[in-house]
Amino acid sequence: MSARLSLWLLMLPVLLWLGLLIILPHIDMFFVSLRTRVGVGEYEYGLANYAAFFTEPLYLRTFARTAIMSVLATALTLVIAFPVAYFIAKVARGRWQGVLFLFCLVPFWVSELVRTFGWMILLRETGVFSSVLQWAGLADGPVEMLYNDAAMMVGLVYTSMLFMVVPLVTTLQSLDDSLVEAGYDLGGNGFTVFREIILPHAVPGIVSGSIVVFMLSLGNYLTPTMLGGKDSLWFTEMIYSQFIVRFNWELGAAFGFLLLALSSFIVWAALKLSGQTLEKTLG
């Protein structure tokens, strides 16, 4: 009896947290998403907001673009983070390991806003890169590198790096060096050892890192709006503008739920494709 009571008491904070901060607001949001404004202070219940999403090509396009760009950003982050993580986990020794890890962490000491501004200073027409290129004689006039999809990608990858490096370092550290040596000893070269031994071992880290990075990119607001420029369509931006600029909470809430559905679907599909389960990845 008292054991059960203490169990409940132990779980209380978690349950409260889940209930009050996650489940309750979502239920409320869901009801809001089912409402449609028909006049001043008058609302009607129905699926009109969801219908609006599926009939407006702009919303669908933004939705698809956000998903594809996020997947791309995740893939790029993985490609860049893997060698970094491998170096930290397997090549660097002792104090170096810590120092390198710290380097990955440093950008996170400042806020995302400042980090994004940093990139703007580097990439803008009168910015550092442009000036260096002109000084080196590689460019005749100022080069604009800001306000395009590439700049946005750079920002997304930069913001996500750490969240890919950490799980990768953890899984790669658990890879026994002798497995790699055995791979070579039995006739493998660098490529085959990577493909057949290192990569399969790192799959749980890759999957969990990718899930986090994908979610972060999908839900990112600052980076796409600030670095992306006039053509940067990002779904979170659309949700923000529905809520704040258009006062259309109803459509914004519906968008929010669609984004939730999208991210859940893509994560589920990625887990299925890689043959992983959520428990395995998180455990």
Partner: protein, 358 residues
């Protein structure tokens, strides 16, 4: 048993004590939801010295103010400063404000015409919801050395400035372009079909013009940076931004567009759940004193509705104002009428399509 009871009673007492403390603290605090520059530090210090009331400032903009007050049903702040055209619509829709008790306001401090206009624009069901504070215009900020020929919004679309102009993707841009295209959007406010037609024409123009735009600016600092560095030579912007840059670089200045600058008035409005109503009235009456209003003008860059504050205003600022606004330009200012509920949805959809266009 005894100890338990003691502990319990102690806890309750402590909680009550804390509660009392926090209420007594908040009674002497004015939570102000306003724009950057409208509540300078020195003014707050003087106010606190005179009344003993602390002021907590949250900087925001029209859309966020409405969204914040809507989320709490008009709570969380004691005094807000939305623009006069954005009060009646949201009030009718979301019921987030409290009527102003004009008897508690020293109306003699206000420029009468401005007070009357604001009262008329913010009246819902016979109650007044706003009194004027700071006013200004939006128009064009132009680097005259590089883009001297820019005289109206539509000039931003001229080929010669390709990649060197900027504007916001917000409703003032739609309105400004509409006037520059010879349309009259304010006259169409009451007629949704006519207004949709105007917005559709502007949308087409903006899509056509998109290639010319370097970036849609979002915040004042971002725009200032773009103009300062020369990456942008002409932009739609507020008058104060232009004057501020003029002080640094005489080539850059604010230009009232040929079709007329757009005039706005930011107000004082009481959130529905204000907890410090008296403090709010005290603040209004305090900052409208001519010498205080002049300090706010110096900080925000814009003039106020305070009667006689001009005397105290900075001469340089006055000179800049006169350079940008000859008498006919002042007469040509298009003051925003109250936005009827529902127009934002039409504008929003158009702006989304502009953003998505290639």
């Amino acid at each position: 048993m005894l100890t338990n009871g003691t502990i319990l009673r102690g806890t309750v007492a402590t909680l009550l004590g804390l509660g009392a403390l926090s209420t007594s603290a908040s009674a002497e605090t004015l939570r102000l939801l306003t724009w950057g520059g409208y509540a300078p530090e020195e003014v707050i210090e003087m106010f606190t010295e005179e009344t003993g009331i602390e002021v907590e400032v949250t900087k925001s903009n029209n859309e966020e103010m409405i969204a914040k007050l809507r989320a709490t049903g008009g709570g969380g702040f004691d005094l807000a400063q939305p623009s006069q055209d954005r009060i009646a619509g949201p009030q009718a829709e979301f019921d987030i404000y409290k009527p102003i008790d004009l008897s508690k306001i020293e109306t003699g401090l206000f420029i009468e015409s401005m007070l009357e206009a604001t009262k008329a624009n913010t009246t819902v069901d016979g109650e007044v919801y706003g009194v004027p504070h700071v006013w200004g215009t939006s128009g064009l900020v132009v680097n005259t050395a590089e883009a001297g020929s820019v005289a109206d919004y539509t000039d931003l679309c001229n080929e010669e400035f390709a990649g060197k102009v900027s504007y916001r993707l917000k409703r003032p841009t739609l309105i400004g372009f509409a006037y520059a295209m010879g349309l009259d959007p304010f006259a169409a406010y009451g007629d949704e079909a006519a207004y949709s037609d105007i917005v559709a024409q502007v949308e087409e123009k903006l899509i056509e013009c998109k290639a010319n735009v370097k970036a849609y600016w979002d915040g004042g600092d971002q725009l200032m940076g773009l103009l300062r560095s020369g990456e942008v030579v002409a932009s739609m912007a507020w008058d104060t931004g232009g004057w501020k840059l003029n002080a640094e670089n005489p080539d850059i200045t604010f230009v009232a567009p040929a079709s007329g600058a757009l005039g706005w008035i930011d107000t004082f409005a009481l959130p529905k759940k204000t907890k410090a109503e008296d403090a709010a009235y005290k603040w209004i009456n305090f900052v409208m004193k001519p010498e205080i209003a002049a300090m706010i003008t110096a900080s925000a860059g814009n003039f106020t509705a305070s009667n006689g504050a001009d005397e105290f205003a900075d001469d340089e600022l006055k000179a800049r104002f006169q350079a940008s606004f000859p008498q006919e330009a002042i007469d040509n200012i298009k003051w925003y009428p109250t936005v009827p509920a529902g127009l934002e949805a039409i504008e929003g959809a158009a702006l989304d399509r502009v953003k998505a266009a290639n």
